[in-house]
């Protein structure tokens, strides 16, 4: 039984990491350890894939604004993102994550992300590690929001929108605007899509779009999207309140007033 599970685990991990990692996990004692590893391996593949997706999205955002971003690098990262999303859509984990209740704390995921990105000690100088460690720290208090953040509800159309605004460096000033818009879209995709929970109503309205920590800790609600671009939003989000951001803000204030007074 350990061997069968080992085989399944192999197939999972091979698609993402290479033989080296597989051997580390599964060579040696196979029986009880193998079974335990098996139990851990199946969810951890999804977590690893998720963290790779998040890492890739972060990479696309953190472009040097002074110099034009390296197009080859951006294309490769965007292709990776698309690949992950396609696979997630295919094996149904997309829906699975959507419907996942808040029961599973995301802290586990954050921890595994940290381990994943620091597979070897010398990688500690990688520049994204500080980002993730901040991530872990900030998220410790707000587990509810985090579970919703980590379930990145991105439709397959999002990478296209990412790209359309990322690549177009040709036209003058509107490119800067569109780059900012694409950032907004990225943040949009990272945050919660159904702001019906009470927590969201009371969450801080924070306008620091480019504060990565703030975004990833879900302190933004999606009613704050000041610069919306109707045409480039994927259809999935068009039903949201983004079409009328300002009125939503007023609505939010109104609701808060009512609740506070009562």
């Amino acid at each position: 039984m350990g061997e069968e599970e080992g085989l399944h685990q192999t197939q999972l991990l091979d698609t993402m990491f290479v033989r080296g990692l597989k051997r580390k996990c599964f060579d040696g004692e196979e029986d009880i350890e193998g079974t335990l590893a098996g139990f851990k391996a199946i969810p951890s593949y999804n977590l690893q894939r998720q963290s790779l997706l998040d890492m890739s999205l972060v990479k696309l955002q953190l472009c040097h604004m002074l110099v034009e971003p390296n197009l080859c690098r951006s294309v490769l990262i965007a292709n990776t993102v698309r690949q992950i999303q396609e696979e997630m859509t295919q094996d149904g984990t997309w829906q699975m994550i959507n419907t996942q209740s808040a029961g599973q704390t995301s802290l586990d995921r954050l921890v595994s992300t940290d381990i994943l990105c620091r597979s070897s000690k010398e990688q500690a100088e990688g520049k994204l590690v500080p980002v993730y460690s901040t991530f872990t720290k900030d998220c410790e208090g707000t587990s509810q929001d985090n579970s919703e953040i980590m379930s990145t509800v991105t439709s397959p159309q999002v990478p296209k929108n990412l790209q359309s605004n990322m690549w177009e460096m040709e036209n003058p000033q509107e490119n800067r605007g569109s780059f900012q818009k694409s950032l907004d879209q990225i943040f949009e995709t990272l945050e919660n899509k159904s702001p019906n929970t009470v927590e969201d109503l009371f969450s801080e309205v924070d306008n620091s779009y480019y504060d990565l920590d703030t975004v990833l800790t879900g302190m933004m609600s999606n009613t704050k999207m000041g610069h919306c671009d109707l045409e480039t939003f994927p259809s999935q989000t068009s039903t949201n309140s983004n079409s009328n951001c300002k009125s939503d803000l007023n609505e939010l204030d109104h609701i808060v007033e009512i609740l506070v007074e009562s």
Partner: protein
């Protein structure tokens, strides 16, 4: 082991210019390109600060036989300056991406240097005589009073201290929307091409205000962009043929006689993917960072993140040779993706006879592969481990648990010390290796 590198001359951050005694800081910046000229007499380097430094090989001297073939600074000049694109509010880096020499046709030397946006043709010439005895001005250059001139004389040329001057002869600008990654001089010596992420342009050396676009892979809808051009080169003998590589690991060979816009390739080189090695990083590591024709013109060599492949132009479906550069990194791809090392663009070079190929790696290691004997060696370019005229010791990276005394473990590798740029003398066993801001020159020991 290949007993190639037996002599080492390190050219570090200071060098003595032949015309002065004071040391000048040559490499205060990271070296971004290295290139020998066609005879190997000159070696040009470009750096991140937009400067070009040219080294010249010393003439052989019977008085000092051990100094045969040392390279000394010949000329230094600022090729590119940082610019600001006001339209896009973006800086244009002055970093020299590539230098390519033109074949020598007269006493002067010509080279092309390029940054992200602009290609320049530089003329490097010597002046060792100066005219003396002008009539209308004196030796200091001051004008003489015409009424004081009583006789006429013919100015004569008198020897002077050697002066090397570099002058920009052509500036080829405003032709690239994206970042130039390659330039290549055509074998007709009249044209050259410049390639950016999405387009390749053909220039005539004499004409700077227009160029022909010969490849354009920009999609009509940028949302559909999934592939970029990573490198391009002309065939060494056929002036109508060139190749370009892509971020998806493919190489296209194009014939300019077929059509004006070479969007349709004549040959398409791609190796089918190994399904057992498939991962989310497969595409990234298959992206080709450099493509080079062999001197014979019969083969092309491509460098992707983990391997070097040699292709026969007559066989498109797979390479004829594949060499593992640092396969021990395969299990570290996620970490290398996180710290962006996976996007490092390593170059590769042939030796003069196309029998040995060389490329760089991390930890200041570089690798050589002998195509005939199938042997390979790993060497290190560092000050601590090499002394002048010392034989370079082969290095080894240990992947397993037990590390031998001289081996270095994968986890101890320094990924900030990467050798991206190397060059091989066109006919002799002399190599130039750029390790961040240090240039190393190694050569075979003679007798």
């Amino acid at each position: 082991m290949i007993p190639y590198c037996k002599y080492q001359q390190g050219i570090h951050t200071e060098i003595y210019h032949p015309n002065n005694i004071k040391p000048i800081s040559v490499f205060s910046d990271i070296i971004s390109t290295v290139e020998f000229n066609h005879t190997g007499e000159l070696l040009a380097t470009g750096d991140k600060g937009g400067r070009v430094v040219i080294f010249q090989r010393e003439q052989e001297s019977k008085n000092q036989p051990h100094r045969r073939g040392e390279y000394n600074v010949y000329s230094t000049f600022q090729s590119h300056e940082p610019e600001f694109d006001y339209l896009k509010s973006l800086e244009i880096e002055e970093k020299i991406n590539k230098i390519r020499w033109l074949p020598q046709q007269n006493a002067a030397y010509f080279l092309l240097s390029t940054n992200d946006k602009t290609v320049k043709l530089w003329k490097v010439s010597e002046r060792d005589k100066r005219p003396e005895g002008y009539n209308l001005k004196d030796e200091d250059g001051r004008l003489r009073d015409p009424s004081m001139i009583t006789m006429l004389r013919v100015p004569v040329l008198r020897p002077m201290d050697l002066m090397v001057e570099a002058t920009p002869r052509r500036v080829f600008a405003n032709a690239h929307t994206y970042h130039i990654n390659s330039i290549s001089v055509n074998s007709d010596y009249e044209t050259y091409m410049s390639a950016d992420d999405l387009r390749i342009n053909l220039w005539n050396f004499e004409i700077t205000n227009q160029s022909f676009n010969i490849v354009d892979i920009k999609p009509a809808n940028m949302e559909e962009l999934t592939e970029v051009i990573t490198a391009a080169e002309f065939h060494p003998h056929h002036c109508n043929t060139f190749v370009y590589s892509s971020s998806k690991g493919t190489i296209r060979l194009c014939d300019m006689r077929a059509s004006a816009l070479c969007d349709r390739h004549s040959k398409f080189f791609e190796e089918p993917e190994d399904p057992s090695n498939r991962s989310f990083f497969s595409e990234i590591i298959s992206s080709i960072s450099d493509v080079k024709f062999s001197h014979s013109g019969r083969y092309i060599m491509t460098r992707d993140y983990l391997t070097i492949k040699v292709w026969d132009l007559n066989m498109e479906n797979r390479p004829i040779e594949t060499y593992q550069v640092h396969d021990y990194l395969r299990s570290k791809l996620c970490s290398l993706y996180e710290n962006d090392c996976i996007f490092d663009k390593f170059e590769c070079v042939w030796n003069g006879s196309d029998s040995v190929i060389m490329t760089g790696s991390y930890n200041n290691f570089f690798r050589m592969f002998d195509r005939n004997t199938k042997r390979d060696v790993t060497l290190e370019a560092s000050r601590e481990n090499s002394k002048p005229r010392a034989i370079l010791k082969p290095r080894k990276v240990c992947v397993g648990g037990k590390r031998r005394k001289d081996e270095i473990s994968v986890d101890s590798l320094d990924f900030s010390k990467k050798i991206l740029h190397t060059a091989w003398h066109p006919s002799e066993n002399i190599i130039a290796v750029a390790a961040t801001n240090n240039l190393y020159i190694f050569q075979d020991k003679v007798n």
